[in-house]
Assembly symmetry: C2
């Protein structure tokens, strides 16, 4: 059954040949952008532009119809007006295509009888023709290991263990983009739009057994087979942390969802309860989704809710100590007092005035001294009460009076500690001016498995989500 | 009374001469950094380094003691260990100094009897000596119109109408920094730490009558004269929108606050109720504070909660339509249907497939066409149901397939509409790679009075805050 599922999805995430129906001489058309993106990132398989005019498109021989293509075709991308799609599907059947992805919209999401009818027809054609459909009304697949970019986005991120399925092509694109910037490494992503054939349940069945996938995220506006979906999710979440962002949680949002993917409204309360019972994390925004995916990617497996907070690296950490504590405790994390031994050792190296030797620790102006910072970190990490360390490092503030070289040395301390011991080290740094040095430093930290959150509220929420997950699945301690 | 208050605070925010006690040859010491920042931004008044060693500091003649300075001294900054401060204050009294700001910490916030005693003594010395104290344990004043930087931060932002008072020097620095990046223009900021003499109540009295200040923000961990403070706030908020971020809202956070500024805990519930009754907005994070300050700065005065949302400028706006609606309606904003006339006109210019002609409007792939975008915007703005327009523009996504020139043209449409009509135009764009082009574009939009929020949730919350304020003060309609 596992083998079968993996086999069935092979042409979806690892096609060896792709035809793009709707590529043309017009570089702005989506069909052309799909094709050009594949070329740009160096897709290794065969690529076939399909256009009635034939000729050459983006330096590749174009074929008038799919059935004219000489070699086998695993995957067909369709980006032409809806009224022309049925004939394309007949060709796909004749050609023995395995999967057809529809960028094309104008189906059930239009709310018209005509649109609903056309969607039924394409689903029937798939059944009869022996191929599967991704979409319609979607961007499709992102499979970096197979050098498949996300539709018209001509970039590939690093390959990793995070999978994401989405009823919104836009949100999937956003999380891929965020991932490239913040270091979320995907195994595969799929935006499946109306899901007229392959639906959330199918993708989830696959991801549950996909050996490349260790963490599963989803954006959903509704599910057709609710019972089946939640059973599957419960099963999958036992071994792979799973989180769902549910769109349409307000009444007005649900109405918007009906126009978007034709999703039926289930109340947010019911969704929340079902997810909770399945041991699936519920997130409420794209930002929380990205933060939580990153947290699992970097700190898996981790269970513990006693947080040590280091503030005042850039001076003035008193206020941050207060609001950091608020942020942590209001989502159920603990900020326990340091042990007496820890306080005694800190007292030996930190100045009495301006610093606050409790947890949160306000280093008060000496946070930028590399030696003191290193000793401080070692002392805090050694406190047996502490499970996880959050460092309130605001890079651009520090950079206003320290050199980037010094900042590099400070962060090397965190990287060393991340490597040499088990307690997670996480960083908080507000978005800054996006200087080259900062981007490089963030990349280095991310490569070392350290997440950088833009605010303590967001760090705390993501850590609390991880805690909830492990407590649910490993029992509340 | 007004005149008197303005006169009293003149040397605080507009001193003509400043002495820095604790400046030295060591460039890393805070005293030196205070002095160097003043020099760096070109402070126009007299500057006097004070150091027992005399000589020259940062190319200025240094004086062993404040009383040795030849000319008058309005303002003294103190950045030396606490045990040396009493003698400095005697000198200040002898010299006829008007105000002394203490970076120096080690007073009541230490929780020791000794610290409390020393704080009382400096407050007494001020009373006897006829000068006022800012602090102790604070960064002090930022007064860009007087070319006074924020303590050691060697930069000045544009002068504006937003004032901010803070019990945390770190948070005040953060909001100033955010302001420079996002275009919050301050009249004045003060971090007053323990507030042993001048306290929140004093600063608020001044800001209420300060003609340069139109919007007031505060970070507070506690107030000494609660009743007086809330009465003042209620009075001030009648004419100047006011918002408070309260630190120490959780029990653990309140404990941290006690170590920070020695603030007494009042429960968050009571604070919330008091602020609400005073017509003062309560914000819950630095981000919400910055967003709300910007919203008032750009869109004052504005009352209306019917939001039109434009999604899909970068394609794939269906999911964004759903989550945007969730974001708005969950904070009490309306996303009303467009009028029939609006839909009819939109239908003429937008393609039927891929777009969703309701509110939120998903432009579905043609959002990047400048002509279509301009007509679309004009049609939406003209809908009488619509009070405010939020555009889900994700610059870095757009820049992945459009030129920055085209992006510039798109944003020029928003700028023109912002100038030529009354309905607020706001933008949402996720933080990106911080490219030069994006920074320039954001600056241009900000200068045109358009706020850019990093997420729709944050835009919605800030707009809802503004709505709440005007409904409170102008009556619920």
């Amino acid at each position: 059954m596992f083998e079968e599922k993996l086999h069935q999805f092979e042409p979806i995430f690892y096609p060896r040949s792709i035809a793009v129906v709707g590529a043309s001489q017009n570089k702005l058309k989506f069909g052309t952008r799909y094709l050009d993106s594949l070329i740009h990132v160096g897709f290794k398989g065969k690529l076939y532009p399909v256009n009635p005019a034939g000729g050459e498109i983006s330096s590749l021989k174009a074929y008038p119809r799919v059935r004219d293509i000489p070699g086998p075709v695993d995957y067909v991308m369709v980006a032409i007006p809806a009224k022309f799609v049925l004939q394309v599907l007949d060709d796909c059947a004749a050609k023995g295509v395995k999967v057809v992805q529809f960028f094309t919209a104008g189906f059930s999401e239009t709310g018209t009888e005509e649109g609903r009818q056309l969607e039924k027809e394409i689903a029937n054609k798939a059944k009869e023709g022996g191929f599967r459909i991704i979409g319609p009304n979607c961007i499709g697949v992102y499979s970096p290991a197979n050098l498949m970019p996300y539709g018209p986005m001509p970039v590939l991120g690093q390959v990793g263990s995070v999978a994401f399925i989405s009823q919104s092509g836009g949100h999937a694109g956003s999380i891929i983009e965020m991932g490239m910037r913040r270091g979320i490494h995907f195994s595969k992503v799929v935006s499946f739009g109306n899901g007229c054939d392959l639906d959330s349940v199918d993708y989830l069945e696959y991801l549950a057994v996909d050996p490349q996938t260790k963490i599963i995220g989803a954006y959903l506006e509704g599910v057709r087979q609710g019972r089946h979906f939640f059973q599957l999710a419960k099963e999958a979440a036992k071994t792979k942390p799973m989180m769902v962002w549910k769109g349409g949680k307000t009444e007005a949002g649900a109405e918007a969802a009906a126009s978007h993917t034709g999703a039926l409204a289930i109340s947010d309360t019911i969704w929340s309860a079902m997810l909770r019972q399945a041991g699936v994390i519920k997130v409420d925004s794209l930002e929380e989704l990205a933060d939580t995916l990153l947290t699992f990617q970097h700190y898996l497996p981790f269970l513990g809710h006693n947080v040590a907070i280091i503030a005042g690296l850039a001076g003035g950490g008193g206020g941050e100590s207060v609001s950091s504590t608020d942020a942590c405790t209001s989502v159920g994390l603990n900020v326990p007092p340091f042990r007496e031994e820890t306080r005694r050792r800190l007292k030996e190296i930190l100045p009495p005035a301006g610093s606050i030797l409790r947890n949160p620790l306000d280093m008060g102006g000496v946070g930028g001294f590399v030696d003191i910072l290193e000793k401080t970190m070692e002392i805090v990490v050694a406190d047996p009460e502490v499970n996880i360390i959050i460092i309130n490092e605001h890079m651009d503030s520090l950079a206003s009076f320290l050199s980037w070289e010094t900042l590099g040395q400070m962060n090397d301390i965190f990287i060393r500690l991340r490597r040499n011991q088990e307690k997670p080290i996480v960083l908080v740094s507000r978005p800054g001016l996006g200087s080259e040095q900062r981007v490089a430093l963030e990349r280095k930290l991310s490569d070392a498995g350290i997440t950088i959150y833009p605010s303590l509220d967001r760090a705390a929420k993501a850590i609390a989500n991880m805690n909830w997950y492990f407590r649910f699945h490993r029992g509340w301690q």
